[in-house]
Every structure is written in structure tokens, then in C-alpha cells.
Amino acid sequence: MRTLLYVTSFLGMIGLAFWAYRENYDTQAALDHVEDLHRDIADARARLSILKAEWAYLNRPDRLRELAEINFSRLELLSMRPEQFGQVDQVAFPVLDPLVVSDAIDVSSAGAAASDGLVP
């Protein structure tokens, strides 16, 4: 009985040691991963700031105006003027397509009129 107890506790100790060893390596791996992620985040931040600067540079008002002038024939963009504001009642109602009857249905009123007794 006592031997069994010793053997089980020894095996348990070995098991726990193995578990601790594995946990330790898992933790180290996780920390390395976190470090990589931090580096990636820093790189992404740097790239983002460059892209933001580039976006702001490409969208600078002077350039947009020049582009609008160069492409005037296609885009016909003009500066916004007060006259471009309109009233709601200046907007015309949409023109509805007249109902097109494509399949004509022949209607005969002879039988109906006879049954109603309303003969014109």
C-alpha cells in the first residue's frame, strides 16, 4: 500500500514537472509572439502615418483644384456657388411611364349583358 502511494506520488511529480516545463515554453512562445505583434503594430503605425501624410499631400486643395481644371471637359466641376442651392419645390416630379398594354385581352360583353338583363 505504502509502495503504491510512493509510486503514484513520484509519477505525479514527474507529470507536474513536465506540465510546468511545457507551460514555461508556451509562455515564452506567447511572449515572443506578443513582441512580434508589437513590432508589427509599430511598423503598421509608421506606415499608416506615411500613408496619411501622402493622402493629405495628394488631397491638398491646390492639387485638387488643378486636377479639376485639367479635367474640366470631362468632369465639368466648378467652385460651389450660392446659386447651386435649390428649393425642394424646384425639383420636378418624376415622369411616370405610361402603362403599356402588351397583351391585349379580348373582352366580350355579350354574355354578361344578357345574364344581367341590361341590354343597351
Binding site: V34, I41, R45, S49, I50, K52, A53, S79, R81, Q84
Partner: protein
């Protein structure tokens, strides 16, 4: 606990029988008992001391061990941080009120040399000269070969292409260091507001970027503070409005042959400056050096809207009229005699081109811009009350706006405030102030009589200052300003749809070296507010030495120069500000709804 009796009968009685003293037995028992008590107490004290000793030992061993560990181990970054936010060490961005970038940072490289590591210094110098034509080859050869220098900067900022070209030289003595540089992507737009930046202390691996002017310098500490974690500084400026203003103002300045121009657009309730331009301007990416000769005001670095103090002419008349109404001296329809002669302190006060407007109402004084009329109102107000009013409106000290240049806009006041000063100041001569001062003054009329403090920072709430005019007086003053545009001197200022109210001001330029005024140089100003029935914005446009030459003789008044420019600016920016034009509705045709 069982105690042994001190006088046990079993021993006392035999002792008595033997004729012994029973007290001796009692004493003996007492002694034994005391010894037992002493032994017990000692044992307890000893065990307590032991426990205490062990505890102290543990504590000291723990602390000592930890100290030893800290001292002996290599310092490492904590790897498992809970927060993902790292410290952002770069200078914070500056954005406009809608988050568009006005100033940001860019990573670039600097180029330096270690001459002792160079293989072919002569070839390196030659090829560097080919890449950077502005470098001096002889000087480089001297620096690279004299053997005394161990380190020298070649270029502070280089582009990636240049870096690759230097790399291709292949000399191990040419080295690169990372540099963060400040970039103003919009070029010259809002250049005076942003100011500029340069490098402060420099090392090989980094250099600190410091603000040198404008808002960059005013908020230098805040922008560099790592605790911001890169949160951008939001200005009250609207980039598209600022760009449109600068473009129209530039065209207007050229059309009117002016030397310079300035404009301020301000929200009348919050005091936020939506756009502020001063021309000529500069590119903050390549900020010019301050001029060493000539007038500082001729430099493009000079901010006319904040630093430029000018006599702003008749735009001041509305303040005299408003104060007279506030004090109950006059009403808008009170008749004032503006016929000559009107002499103050021996000086005759004249009108523009010698007009005589006769007996007119206060409204008409503003509408026709009568000097004698306003002068009479100012005399009725008196020196002290006029000074007090202008002081409260902020005309006696620099505008407290967030720029390092702001204290340079100290208004020029007369050294002795005489009756004549009172009269001339009432029509804007003898007191010089910046266009920004005037914007703040007009904002007080526009918002119903409250002082507002101009600011360049986006604010969330309306913060009115002291009340200087009653609601009714402010409304009357606005009505007068509206009439100036609809019927008076600023008729070119009407923009259909936006009821503009405003006042023109034309002032002769004082000679720089003193001794009177130029006859043919003027500063023309148009101070306006729109929409006049419920103003939201105040706009000041000032032109320096404009002349309009379409007529038979040159015209230099504000009505012909500043007003059309201001009207064009308002026509461009009001839609950008989201203001919907409102046209006076004519009598609607009678529509009868017919039902079938």
C-alpha cells in the same frame, strides 16, 4: 486549572501537632507556585521572541534577496504588458476642424560621414557633389582628408532616392541616421497660422523637432508631450474655407494692385477663427529666414491679420454709434446736424471729398459714413466712456490668440487722449489695431452684445464674455450695417441670398518716418457679418495700398477695392460653410388646389 492549596490541612495538622509553624508550609508552597509562574512566563516570552525573530529574518531575507536579484540581473523590457498602447514619441499632428491634416511627421534620413572609415574620400566627395549640387566639393574634400575630424554632417534631410544614390557610392564612411521631419502637406495654405518648425538638439539616431513660429511654437510643449499618445491638435480652421479664402484674396489683391492683403473669418458665438489669411505668404516646409533689412512688414513672414496694426478707418464708426445708443444718448432715427463747420481743438473735421450731408439720422451717418456725425456722437459720449468701451472691446491690448506672434499686435494708442483724439478715433484714425481686433469687435455686435475671445482651437461650447451692448442696441447696429450694404457705401458687397451687413473703412497710410499721411496710399477694410438677420460669421478683409484703375481716375476707397473682394470671398465660402442662401420671397402666385 487545579491549584494546590497553600495551606493543605493534611500537612498543617501534623505540623501543628509537632509544634511547627504552619506559616512555613504556606511560604514554601507560595514560593513553589511563584517559581512555576515565572518558568511559564519565560517560556512564553521566549517563544514569542523566536517567532518575531523568524518573521524578521524572513522579511530581511526576502528584501535582501530581491535587492540582490535586481542588482545582479540584466534590465529587460517588460514583455507581457497588459496595455497595447506604446509610447508615441513623435510630435503630434495638427489637423483642421474636420480632421484634415495640416501638419504631420515623415520619416526620412540624414547623411553623415566618418572620414577615418572612408576608402576613397576624393571619389566620394565628387559623387556626393553630383547627387547634391548645392554641396561644396572642395570643402568636402578638405573635411574628408584632413584627418582631424571624426564625424561630420553632410545633409540633414535626404529623400529615399537620394539615399539610394548615396548607398550606390558604396563608401563605408558614409552613414545614415533616421530623422523625423515635419511635413505641411498643404503647402502655403494657413502658413502664418502654422508657423514652422526646425530641428532642435540633434543626435545621430534622432533629432527633436521644435516649433519656430505660429501655433507650432505656442503649443510646442503640448505637441511634444508623449502623454498625448499622438492625439492630434485640432484647430478651428476649416481647410477648404481657408484655401478658398486665400485663393480669392490672392486674386483680389492682384486685381486691386495691392501690396498685401489680410482676411479673418470668425464664428461670432464661439470666437473660433475659421480662416485667417495674410498675403504674401510662404511655404512652411521651406520657411524663409527673417529679413535682416527693410521693414519687417514687407516680409512674407509678417502676419498682417495678427501682427499688422493699421488705422482701420470708418469701420470704427459703428462702435461710436452703438455706444451712443447703449448709453441712451441717441436712437437710430435721431437727427444729427453734420453741416460744416465742425472744429475740435482747432482742427476742422472734414468729410470724404468735401461732402456735406446736412441733417441726417444716426442710421444715415453710418450709411453715408459721415465723419462729422460720428465725431459729434463721440463728443457726446466723452473721453472716459469711449476709452472704457474700447478697452472692454479689447482694443487696448494684443488679441489673446494662441500664436507666438500675437503679442506683436499691440495696438497703437494716442499718448494723450484729447477731445480731438476722441473724435478721430470714432472714425478710425489715431488708433491702430489689427484686423483680428476688429473681427472680435464686430463679433460682439453680431452675437447680440457679448465679448468673445478669438481662438484658433476648436471649441465645443459657446463661451460668451462680458456683455457690452444690449440685445436691442446690437440689433439696431446690425440693421445699420445691413443698410450700408443695401443702400450705402458698400453696395458692391451684396451677395444675393446672403444678407450681408458691414462697414467700409478707408484710411490714409501714415508715413513710416512720421510726419503725416501719404496722399495716394490707403489701407482699405471691409468688416462684414452674414447672414445679417442672425449673423453667424464675421469677416474682415483688409487690402494694403490697393488701387482700382478701371475708371478714368484711380480709385482707392474701400467701396471699390476691399468690398468686391470680400463679397467674392463670401460668395465662395458661405456655401462651403453650409449656409443656405435665402432669397426674399416674392408674392407667391395664387395656387388653387383643384380636386376632381
Amino acid at each position: 486549572m487545579n491549584r494546590i492549596p497553600l495551606r493543605p490541612l493534611a500537612r498543617i495538622l501534623p505540623a501543628r501537632d509537632r509544634g511547627q509553624n504552619p506559616d512555613a508550609i504556606e511560604r514554601e508552597n507560595l514560593r513553589i507556585r511563584h517559581e512555576q509562574m515565572r518558568d511559564k512566563a519565560r517560556l512564553r516570552a521566549e517563544s514569542r521572541l523566536l517567532v518575531m525573530g523568524v518573521l524578521f529574518l524572513c522579511a530581511f531575507v526576502t528584501i535582501g534577496g530581491r535587492m540582490g536579484l535586481l542588482a545582479a540581473s540584466e534590465p529587460t523590457e517588460p514583455r507581457a504588458r497588459a496595455t497595447g498602447a506604446s509610447i508615441i514619441a513623435s510630435r503630434a499632428d495638427i489637423t483642421d476642424r474636420r480632421g484634415r491634416v495640416l501638419a504631420t511627421n515623415m520619416e526620412t534620413h540624414s547623411l553623415y560621414a566618418h572620414p577615418q572609415q572612408m576608402i576613397e574620400p576624393l571619389r566620394a566627395a565628387k559623387e556626393l557633389k553630383a547627387i547634391f549640387p548645392d554641396l561644396d566639393e572642395e570643402r568636402m574634400v578638405k573635411d574628408f582628408t584632413d584627418g582631424k575630424r571624426k564625424f561630420l554632417w553632410v545633409k540633414k534631410k535626404i529623400s529615399p532616392e537620394q539615399m539610394q544614390a548615396v548607398h550606390d557610392i558604396g563608401d563605408p564612411g558614409l552613414l545614415f541616421g533616421p530623422r523625423e521631419m515635419r511635413l505641411y502637406p498643404n503647402g502655403a495654405i494657413a502658413s502664418h497660422i502654422l508657423g514652422g518648425s526646425s530641428f532642435g538638439r540633434e543626435g545621430v539616431d534622432s533629432a527633436e523637432v521644435i516649433g519656430t513660429a505660429g501655433i507650432e511654437k505656442f503649443f510646442d510643449e503640448e505637441l511634444r508631450d508623449p502623454a498625448r499618445e499622438g492625439a492630434p491638435l485640432e484647430l478651428s480652421i476649416d481647410l477648404s474655407v481657408q484655401a478658398a479664402t486665400e485663393r480669392v484674396l490672392d486674386a483680389g489683391m492682384k486685381l486691386m494692385n495691392a501690396r498685401g492683403a489680410a482676411s479673418v473669418l470668425m464664428d461670432v458665438h464661439t470666437g473660433e477663427i475659421i480662416a485667417m489669411a495674410s498675403l504674401p505668404d510662404f511655404d512652411p516646409n521651406d520657411r524663409p529666414r527673417p529679413p535682416t533689412e527693410g521693414m519687417p512688414s514687407d516680409s512674407p513672414l509678417f502676419n498682417r491679420a495678427v501682427q499688422g496694426v493699421y488705422e482701420l478707418g470708418s469701420t470704427f464708426k459703428i462702435f461710436a454709434a452703438a455706444q451712443a445708443m447703449e448709453l441712451g444718448l441717441v436712437r437710430p432715427d435721431t437727427i444729427i446736424d453734420t453741416r460744416p463747420p465742425f472744429k475740435v481743438g482747432g482742427h476742422r473735421i472734414g468729410e470724404f471729398e468735401g461732402h456735406n450731408y446736412g441733417e441726417i439720422t444716426v442710421s444715415e451717418i453710418i450709411q453715408k459714413s459721415s465723419n462729422r456725425g460720428t465725431g459729434k456722437l463721440a463728443l457726446a459720449i466723452g473721453i472716459d466712456r469711449q476709452k472704457d468701451f474700447l478697452d472692454r472691446m479689447g482694443f487696448f491690448k494684443p488679441v489673446p490668440v494662441e500664436m507666438v506672434e500675437a503679442p506683436g499686435g499691440q495696438p497703437l494708442l494716442p499718448s494723450r487722449w484729447t477731445d480731438l483724439s476722441t473724435v478721430t478715433i470714432s472714425y478710425g484714425h489715431g488708433l491702430s489695431s489689427s484686423p483680428l481686433h476688429l473681427a472680435a469687435g464686430y463679433a460682439a455686435i453680431a452675437n447680440g452684445g457679448h465679448i468673445v475671445h478669438p481662438t484658433l482651437i476648436k471649441s465645443k461650447a459657446v463661451t460668451y464674455g462680458e456683455r457690452v451692448l444690449s440685445e436691442e442696441v446690437a440689433a439696431n447696429a446690425r440693421q445699420m450695417l445691413r443698410e450700408v450694404v443695401s443702400e450705402g457705401t458698400a453696395s458692391f458687397g451684396d451677395v444675393p441670398g446672403y444678407k450681408i451687413g458691414g462697414k467700409t473703412g478707408t484710411a490714409d497710410k501714415p508715413k513710416e518716418r512720421g510726419g503725416g499721411y501719404y496722399k495716394d496710399k490707403t489701407i482699405t477694410t471691409f468688416a462684414s457679418m452674414f447672414p445679417a438677420d442672425n449673423p453667424r460669421y464675421v469677416q474682415i478683409v483688409t487690402l494694403d495700398e490697393p488701387v482700382e484703375t478701371s475708371g478714368s481716375r484711380p480709385r482707392r476707397t474701400a467701396g471699390w477695392t476691399a468690398v468686391p473682394v470680400a463679397a467674392e470671398i463670401i460668395g465662395r465660402i458661405a456655401p462651403l460653410l453650409g449656409l443656405r442662401p435665402e432669397y426674399d420671397v416674392k408674392e407667391l402666385a395664387q395656387i388653387t388646389l383643384v380636386s376632381d
